[in-house]
Symmetry: C2
Subunit: 426 residues, 2 copies
């Protein structure tokens, strides 16, 4: 009898956990991804600031499943679903292909939301991919290099102005790290004073890190301020062009000339959510998230499950688009498949909130642990460090990251400050 | 009194050593490079095979000279020289600029020689830059991914054929590493058998690693053979196209269909050698190398020195284009500048040959130490490891590389097998 075939689209946090937790199940798993690696997205910003190397935040999917014989990895893009014939249409290097499934799991993740202004994307770098992180790295480092040779002081000021749009964890962490680069590289430049760099964290809402309690937001803003980051809350971005950023405040419009703009504002569900919604006749919310049943199945299709930050449980509380949610969904889905194969059923998915952490640079962080425990400063940072190391895929990476962070902490150095890619020429 | 100004064009092995050894001199040094980092070229092939990360073989020039106050780093391209006015014409991010010098040192390195066939470059990847290494990494890994989904066995065979042109150290090392990847990743693919991969090392001469004594060449060829590399000596490449490589042998022409072709044949001096030769009215040899005086000055211009593999001492023995030659030239130039400032003179540059090493994969290497001592196998490999670690710039890198190599050695794993860049889509 042929084995039950599980196809997982997406090798992110959710898909990875689903496949890993099907290890002991009598199924054939195929994990499909456009990339040959799993990206540890929460640390991608550290690649963008030269603190970590790409191999420390990304790990080949094949290496992860090397010893898990029931998993095949396929480098392919899911282009369509036929939920009646139970097939996934794929595009591989060899052309179009069709993959049969008995159970389908889709976790396509999210992309940045430019709120109807796709033209901003050209001038605002984003962190969603590894290439995006390398591009930002090159852009930040190049800004300092350009400032070093600029003869016009106005132009130099523009080059040394960094605007980060969106004060969620990614934006706040980026801002803190850029301020640290400016501070730590002062000795390396002979003309420009990198301390003159302006790092502006622009947020439409009234506080930074709004997912945290007010008191921690205030602490974070103060902590960022001491690093040299100016938080511009209640500032709504109305335009981004090659010159800089225009913002609207209570006092009217304000334009800031900036050499580097980084976009870290809202997200939209990945386009595969729409592809799946159309195939299933399912609904999506305002940001494109597929509305799923409490057991994460797509309405009317008990053999199709959708997970991660491209889904929202219909009528349920909105869940944050963070790795722990996706990972718990992935594990839930694996359990649910196994129980169904044994003829059982599953209760609804329940997210267990283990807390919320954000780091703001060297030995600074804020944390909210579930039963109202709030911490900040070094202890929160140590906690952040421990948890991130723990979850990094692969022992080799974990150790290397630890050593690199250890060195960075002691020496204030950054090992990977290389300007590579298209931005390499002066 | 203004200080003596030394301008060094090129932050490679020669330029770096010259600047470092001017530490205690009463001079102002400006080191000009198109890139913001020094590349440890002899290990670039390890990036191409996923064994090392970019930050482990490249180090920011500013970080290297952070504490050497008499050195300024400038991200710029040297576009021309006026040896009468004593200026260098530069192109920086801010536009054209002119830099005055009292002593000029030029070490521009080399580029690959396609022997009059620039059209081959499109189909043959090369290792000269960090981007080149990442491109090769993506290409090799992608070839296996493509083979995994290929339905046509002929196409699969083509995808699993890797041709390396040129059996010098770079070519031999690349070939050995690709064969190792094929062997070590067998468990990760479910359809394709990576052991079926063909790795062909094509060489026009009659033996591999011809810079070594015949006995060691033979050992190397045998060692490569046991890894799965087929050495095709006396094979002259006559064409490279999208399909593969055509070679001429005693038996006539032979065409090999190959998915990946890597170019590691002869080199030409960098184009800055020609720019300098024209400005100085100096001669160049067949491969573009500038002919310099025994004291490495450009004929008729005692304040202009040229170093590294873009030069050849007129009438002297040809020197190999390796890092130790460039490094010794750099140090000689620093000494010579210091002695001139004190009113002294310098004897001719003498290359001290400390031996020749090549590694051929896991725990295999060959070495020729100066007084006719020849070693191969594990001992040669340990020697190679020690010497390369010793010379890697920066303590952080050295430790990380050691740990990564240690893990790779124990686990047969490769930490950085990421397909990034343009080649990321299936």
């Amino acid at each position: 009898m042929p084995k039950h075939r599980v196809v997982i689209v997406g090798g992110g946090f959710g898909g990875l956990q689903a496949a890993l937790h099907l290890k002991d199940a009598d199924v054939d798993v195929t994990i499909v991804d456009r990339r040959n690696f799993h990206l540890f997205q929460p640390l991608a910003y550290q690649v963008a600031t030269g603190a970590l190397a790409t191999g420390e935040v990304a790990y080949p999917l094949r290496a992860i499943f090397r010893r898990q014989g029931n998993v095949s990895v396929m480098l392919a893009e899911a282009e369509g679903f036929d939920l009646t014939a139970k097939t996934v249409k794929l595009r591989t290097a060899a052309g179009a292909e069709t993959l049969d499934y008995d159970t389908l799991v889709v976790g396509g993740g999210s992309k940045y939301n430019y709120f109807g202004h796709p033209e901003w994307q050209e001038h605002a770098a984003e962190l969603k991919t590894l290439e995006g992180a390398l591009h930002i790295r090159a852009q930040i480092l190049h800004a300092f290099e350009q400032a070093e040779v600029a003869s016009d002081p106005v132009e130099r000021e523009r080059l040394l102005t960094f605007v980060i749009v969106g004060a969620g964890p990614t934006g706040a962490e980026m801002a803190g790290q850029i301020a640290e680069i400016a501070r730590d590289t002062r000795d390396e430049f002979r003309v420009v004073d990198t301390w003159q760099a302006k790092v502006l964290l622009v947020e439409a809402g009234d506080r930074v890190l709004a997912a945290f309690p007010k008191r921690l937001s205030a602490k974070a803003e103060k902590s960022l301020g001491s690093l040299g980051v100016t938080s511009l809350t209640n500032h709504m971005v109305t335009d981004i062009d090659a010159e800089g950023v225009t913002m609207k405040t209570d006092q009217g419009e304000e334009k800031v000339r900036a050499g580097t703009v980084i976009w870290a504002a809202g997200v939209l569900a990945a386009s595969v959510a729409t592809t799946l919604a159309e195939a299933a006749g399912a609904e999506q919310d305002k940001v494109g998230r597929l509305l799923v049943e409490p057991d994460l199945t797509v309405p009317g299709h008990p053999d199709v499950l959708a997970i991660g930050d491209m889904v929202q449980v219909a009528g349920g509380d909105p869940l944050p688009g963070v790795a722990p949610v996706a990972m718990q969904m992935g594990r839930y889905v694996a359990r649910s498949i196994k129980s169904k194969l044994r003829g059982g059923t599953s209760g609804p998915f329940k997210y267990k909130d283990k807390g919320n952490l954000a780091t703001l640079g060297r030995a600074r962080a804020i944390a909210e642990l579930p039963p109202g425990i709030r911490v900040s400063g070094f202890f929160a940072w140590a906690l952040w460090l421990g948890i991130h190391l723990w979850y990094l895929v692969g022992f080799q990476n974990r150790l290397l990251v630890f050593i690199r962070w250890g060195f960075s902490f002691i020496t204030h150095g950054r090992g990977t400050r290389l300007i590579t890619g298209e931005s390499n020429m002066p």
